[in-house]
Each structure stands twice: as structure tokens, then as C-alpha cells.
Symmetry: C2
Subunit: 197 residues, 2 copies
Amino acid sequence: MLPKQIKRLIEELNKLPGIGPKSAERLTFYLLQKDHGRLQALAEAVAGLKQGLRFCQRCCNLSEQETCNICEHPGRERQTLCLVESPMDVFVLEETGVYKGIYHVLHGAISPLDGVGPEHLTIAQLLKRFEQETFAEIILATNPTVTGEATAAHVSRLLQPRGIRITHLAQGIPMGGQIEFADQDTLKRALNGRREF
Amino acid sequence: MLPKQIKRLIEELNKLPGIGPKSAERLTFYLLQKDHGRLQALAEAVAGLKQGLRFCQRCCNLSEQETCNICEHPGRERQTLCLVESPMDVFVLEETGVYKGIYHVLHGAISPLDGVGPEHLTIAQLLKRFEQETFAEIILATNPTVTGEATAAHVSRLLQPRGIRITHLAQGIPMGGQIEFADQDTLKRALNGRREF
């Protein structure tokens, strides 16, 4: 019974992660109340999202220039490299304002079940960077998931012969979290990684 | 640090109801991984949402024609009119497949605090319908909120002199809900509206 324009947007929104059929319907009927300019602004933001964006030739992060802002920034510590799975990880780490080094974005994690091998990630580009840059520490900041840890292990094996310090992000109870709700793996890591108070 | 194209979409998505800054960021980085065609499909669905849509001249629901599918449908019972606040309400009531009558969409509810008076709703159009159509029952299906109930009371006062049967949707414990979590008003309505088992 719904007009096809309405059905179409519900379908498109429903494809997005975290937006179920009910949310897609609600968002669509919300947008139906908005004027043409508002719809146009959203449509243009979507259509233009990737216009002028490319991958930084050095760290493979999203960038407007050949080399990204972070790689170009004179204030960054160039001997510390943080290895992450995605551009969003760079974004959230940057938001903390704590990290002063540079990054390398893998664009995924090794996952044989999904057909993603090391050759699908930017590991070749990473190894190439070692020819031009000198690093004192590599922080493996992949996700603490099966695929993320497999990726960290793989990269670690490749880099070990170079004698660089290899670290990974601390794992434990998240701030504001409660011990009684922590899963067993998190508790084990929290215990094994305990530190002086 | 984020490229302006990315910031712009995060801002636009963040304006949508139920999408906070974190969800807006996640959706944007998700879309960044998608190809041009996928972005274009979503952008066109947004931009084209209202193209060719108008309000039904009879019931004020969204329609592709001058008169909507429901008003035109020969199988609908024309003596029962269901009064709703929005086109989404028509949609969810139609989804039940239970209602066979026709509708009238008010496009809002009376809310003096928001500057919405009866004159901002389609109440004039509703009264005009009584000149051309004959109704045996009016179902007041506004939301059981302060503004929805005020609207129902207002319309009811206007229609009472006509001697038509005026009903409203049953109010009580929702299916799958639990009595211990029901609020006092809902419980009061559920008790007052109790029926033979």
C-alpha cells in the first residue's frame, strides 16, 4: 500500500547496520515531514561522501591529499607506529588526544572464513614502509577479537626479525564496567595484566 | 582532523531521531567502505522521497494520486472513519490487516506549548468531509499522550452534536508487557477498561 518512493528509502535505510525495519520506517516517515532542502542536504552528504577522498600513500588512512594530515603533521612522533584495522579506529584514537605517533591502517583483519587473507590487507605496504622509515615501537591496536588477534599475531611474526619493540593495547575491565558482568576472557586478561596500585 | 565530507555526513545523520553522534560516526565509516553505486542508491532514495507525493484530497494521507489508494479502494467500509495523527499511524494500522474502514490524517496533535492549535491540523478538512460523506462511527486513534488526548477531546466535542458513535482505541497492558513494569496511568486504564474473560 505504501508509495514506492517511501518503500525504497525504507529498504535502503534498513540495509544500514544497526537500523532494523522499524527504525527504517520511523526515519523515513520522519524525513517525509521535512522540507526539500533538508532532504537535499542529507542526499548530497551521502552522494559526496567519498568525493575527493583517497587513501594516504603512506599510512593507507582516508585522506584528502596524497599524504594524510597525520603523516604530514610535523609534531607527530615518527618512530611510533600504531597498527589499526580501520579508519574509524584512527578517528577514535585521535579523539582521545593521547597518542602522538603515526598510524598504519590495515583495512580489515585476517579472517579465513570470510576469505580475507593477509594479501587483502595493507601488510605489503606496511613492510615497504620499513624501507623508508625507522620505527622504535609498533603498537598492535587490532580489535581483541579472533580475527583481530590473528592479524596481530601474523604481523608480529613478520616484524619480530627486525628487533623492534612490539606492544599491544592493554586489555581488561572497561572503565565504568562492572566486574560481575565481565566475560571470562576479559577477566583472565585483567588478572594476567594486573599492575601495581 | 576528519575530512570535511566525512564530518558533513556525520552531522547530517546526527540530526536524525534516534541516531546519536556515535551511531552517526559508525554509519558514516560504514558507508565509506561501500562503493559509489551503493551511496548513490541511498542518496537518490533520500532526494526522491517526496517526488510525486502529495496529500490525498479526501483523507490527507500521503498519496501518489489526487485521492489515495485507501480512499479509492472499493472494498473499504466508508461509514467507519479512523482519525490518526500521522501517515505512519495509517501505515502501522494497515499492517495489522484488521481495519477495513477509511482514515483521516490530522498531521499533528494540538500542543499549545509548541504553538500547534486546531487550525494547524486538518480538522477543517475533516468537518468538510461530513458534508459529502456519511459516517456511522469515528475511531479516535490519536496517541494516548497529553497532546493526543487533547486532540481527541477537541474533535470529540466538535462531532458530538452530529450524534455519530465516537470510539477510541483500547488502552491497557501491551501484549508481551509485564504488569509490574506498567506505569500507573496504564494500569488505571487497564483496570477501568477490564472486560469479561
